[in-house]
């Protein structure tokens, strides 16, 4: 009989319990009994595999388990094991054909502002309450603050457009928007459309539901120690069938090397944000492997056009020619990630694959700098953060180094690293000049979800309004595209704006950020493009 990984780890750990001869005999007898009985009890997998919970380690902590009171992709990911929404996106992402039924079984547009959803019947929340159209109405009312005036959805600005949900019958609900919304289906695929049970969420305080969540998903909540273990167990009543993995534990370890160590020591099964330089080490360990993908998140390097020297179009173009994004992705990013020609992700709706990537052309960059009319050399300050996204600081230093290679008579660079809160504060106050690191997780998989928040003119009092790279022509296209229901017309509009962006770049156009996860050898798992870690998709290896 071949030894499994779990058994091998057990044997490796023997010295810890080998304190006495009697102890050794007891342990050995126990182990032999388990090994002998396992195959009979659980055909196809060992007892150790079935009993040992699957441990998932993130680098960042979660503050709440309320699906409507957070702004973070990782909380969306974690709570997605307990809560569900009407529709789900496939991975790989396909914003046209990738929509899959989840709590809704079908949907159709009744008129430009109304979409009707048929809900899955006989779905029960974890507390026994049945999912009905009233739950959808309650959820929409809750995020708008109509259930509790002190509670509003944390990302309500993206859901203001959904005016209300009107139950038609027990399992049919109409979702009504304030204007025609071409991406209503996208909005129904997560965040504020995670459906919650009205009785429980209507009668308990926000503090109670934040720490004791009740959803309808494949896993039910068991316990949570803040910054410690979040434990969930399989929902045996799940409409899609009980998941194979019976118990899952989410933990946080801020230090990347500790996450990798835990993986290699057998203390973790899935670890998030593995450093690029650890990939080979993990793959060669025989204990774990790495699964990675270019994720839904796009790295953007904003050219601060409200201040010199980036208020000059030729300088902004020169930055794109000189940054050598392709080379940096190979050298700094370990060949991962995926370039984008402008701002729109390569699989997002509206991406125009005919628009080329900016080539690395130092001579062209120098020529543009000469033509800019500015006194040379120009000073380019690069403002970045460290450790929030893979290789964020390294890429900033890489861009600065590549620009410096244009020659000290052309460009002088300086990189400054900030803590996240300060970085955000500086951006809101428009304090930066030069280039600023940003990244954007486009969780609606649509060009609108990145172009509107980053380009559209803001009310003058809004944070960052003074340094927004907006133009009336871009506003016109964005506004038209977000109210047009015809997909072909929308594609044309987005193609048009991407061409304009290429000519007048508001950013050093970046890349899809790599999502790199370490996976223990006992699991079969493939990382999703949308950064979600849903354990219903994981299996024990046979």
């Amino acid at each position: 009989m071949q030894t499994t990984d779990a058994e091998r780890r057990f044997i490796e750990k023997m010295p810890t319990i080998q304190f006495s001869r009697r102890g050794f005999i007891q342990v050995a007898t126990g182990a032999a009994a388990v090994a002998a009985a396992g195959p009979f009890i659980l055909p196809g997998k060992t007892l150790a595999q079935a009993q040992k919970p699957v441990v998932i380690i993130y680098g960042v902590p979660w503050d709440t388990l309320d699906p409507h009171n957070h702004i973070a992709t990782w909380i969306e990911s974690i709570t997605g094991n307990m809560f569900e929404q009407p529709v789900e996106m496939s991975s790989p992402i396909d914003p046209i054909n990738g929509w899959k039924p989840l709590l809704a079984t079908s949907w159709k547009r009744l008129n430009p502002t109304t979409m009707q959803f048929k809900l899955r019947e006989k779905v029960k929340f974890h507390d026994g309450e049945e999912l009905t159209s009233e739950a959808v109405k309650f959820t929409i009312d809750r995020i708008h603050g109509r259930v509790n005036k002190e509670f509003k959805g944390a990302v309500l600005s993206y859901y203001q457009i959904i005016d209300r949900a009107e139950p038609v019958d027990k399992y049919t609900v109409n979702v009504i928007t304030t204007r025609p919304d071409p991406i209503l289906l996208n909005r129904m695929s997560g965040f504020h459309t995670r459906i919650v049970p009205p009785k429980y969420y209507g009668t308990n305080s926000p503090a109670q539901v934040a720490t004791n969540p009740v959803g309808s998903g494949p896993y039910r909540f068991v316990s949570w120690v803040k910054d410690g273990d979040l434990v969930m167990e399989a929902n045996d009543q799940y409409w899609g069938g009980a998941p194979e993995i019976k118990k899952i534990i989410f933990r946080t370890a801020p230090e990347p090397s500790v996450r990798v160590s835990a993986l290699l020591a057998g203390d973790a099964d899935l670890v998030h944000a593995v450093p690029v330089e650890e990939i080979d080490f993990i793959n060669k360990s025989g204990k774990a492997y790495v699964s990675h993908t270019a994720s839904n998140r796009v790295a953007l390097w904003r050219l601060e056009r409200h201040k010199p020297p980036m208020n000059n179009q030729k300088v902004r173009q020169a930055m794109n020619y000189g940054a050598n994004m392709e080379g940096l992705l190979k050298t700094v990013y370990g060949g991962m990630g995926k370039r984008v020609s402008t701002m729109v992700g390569s699989w997002h709706f509206g991406y125009d694959d005919k628009i080329p990537f900016y080539p690395h052309d130092p001579n062209k960059a120098r020529q543009l700098l000469k033509e800019s009319g500015l006194p040379l050399p120009i000073q380019v300050n690069v403002h970045t953060i460290q450790g929030r996204y893979p290789k964020d600081k390294d890429m900033a230093e890489g861009i600065a180094a590549e620009l410096s290679k244009l020659g000290k008579e052309y460009v002088q660079t300086k990189v400054t690293v900030y803590e996240w809160g300060t970085h955000l504060k500086r951006q809101n106050a428009c304090e930066n000049d030069g280039i600023t690191h940003n990244s954007w997780g486009n969780w609606m998989f649509d060009a609108d979800m990145i172009l509107y928040p980053w380009l559209h003119t803001l009310p003058p009092t809004d944070p960052g309004a003074a340094c927004r790279p907006a133009k009336p022509e871009w506003d016109r296209i964005i506004d038209e595209a977000r109210t047009t229901l015809d997909p072909e017309k929308r594609k044309k509009l987005y193609s048009e704006i991407q061409k304009q962006l290429w000519d007048d770049p508001p950013f050093v156009f970046g890349h899809h950020v790599a999502d790199i996860m370490g996976v223990s050898s006992r699991l079969a798992w493939k990382v999703r493009q949308d950064e979600m870690v849903w354990l219903k998709e994981a299996k024990f290896k046979k």
Binding site: E12, D63, S157, V258, A262, G266, T422
Partner: protein, 336 residues
Amino acid sequence: MWRFFLRRLAQSILVVFGVLLLVFVIMQLTGDPAALMLPPDSPATDIERIRIMYGLDRPLYVQFARFLFGDIGGGGDRTVRTWGSGGGWLEVPIKPRKGVIRGDFGESLRYREQPALAVVLERFPRSLELMVAAFLYAVLLSLVFGLLCALRQGSLVDQGVRVLAILGQSIPSFWLGLLLILVFAVWFGWLPAMGSGTWWHLVMPAVTLGSLSLARNTRLVRSGMLDVLGEDYVRTARAKGLTERLVVAKHALKNTAIPLVTLWGLDVGVLFGGAVITESIFAWPGTGRLVIESVTRRDFPVVQAAVFFIALIFVLVNLLVDLVYGWLDPRVRLER
């Protein structure tokens, strides 16, 4: 004695107040918590709403007064109707405050709706568990090593322990922690790499956290014992024919205790400070990690509650140390 105690108590209250003021001012300088609670592209009205709700829109001195003494007239369920800077009326419910004097540090901005002090107290037992383990590890081993070195001065053991003590004081705790994880979790697989829940989880964090104290205490026990062993009363005790064990335990050790007890009091501060790093490395869900995460997220109420709580414990422990002096050495009591 009572006058001494009351005077020290009054000083302690002043120290705690000073700490509160300092933390309040420093935290205000570092960024806007309201902006961190919302998506980066949130409209001004949303940010304004959060600021008003938590009273962050008021002048600093009003915020501090409210933080200390709560709402004048009891606060209660109040709603403010104000003209938003983005246009349109904003109707915002205000979170009531009772003030620090009534034990209310406000609601955590990160764990919304939950009292900040409760969040801190919830985490403290985990930190206490770790700190007690680290303290015992440091104190007990330092006594053994220090005595061994003093009694065998100049021997190979003495020199070896002294080298280790210097190493222990110089190694940064985050590096030691990572090294322990590599050796004992990854290579040997003897101990869990991180997390909490069993006694085994406690071993590496306690060793990491206690190492600095162990090194400092070992050196102090050694030098203290060497001083005392050369004193006349020790020679007298030996001349009386007492066994060496009795001489060391009864006559020498008690007289090295005063500097040791001082150091133990200061160790509480070192352990709290070290816990911030150690708990982050080993993913230990204690107060230290809470402080780090709360500073990052500008969770002012929790940082203020945690710093207050830590300062209070530090001050109380050192007050206790002062009182113990008198018990250990009556001369100290008389001088005061």
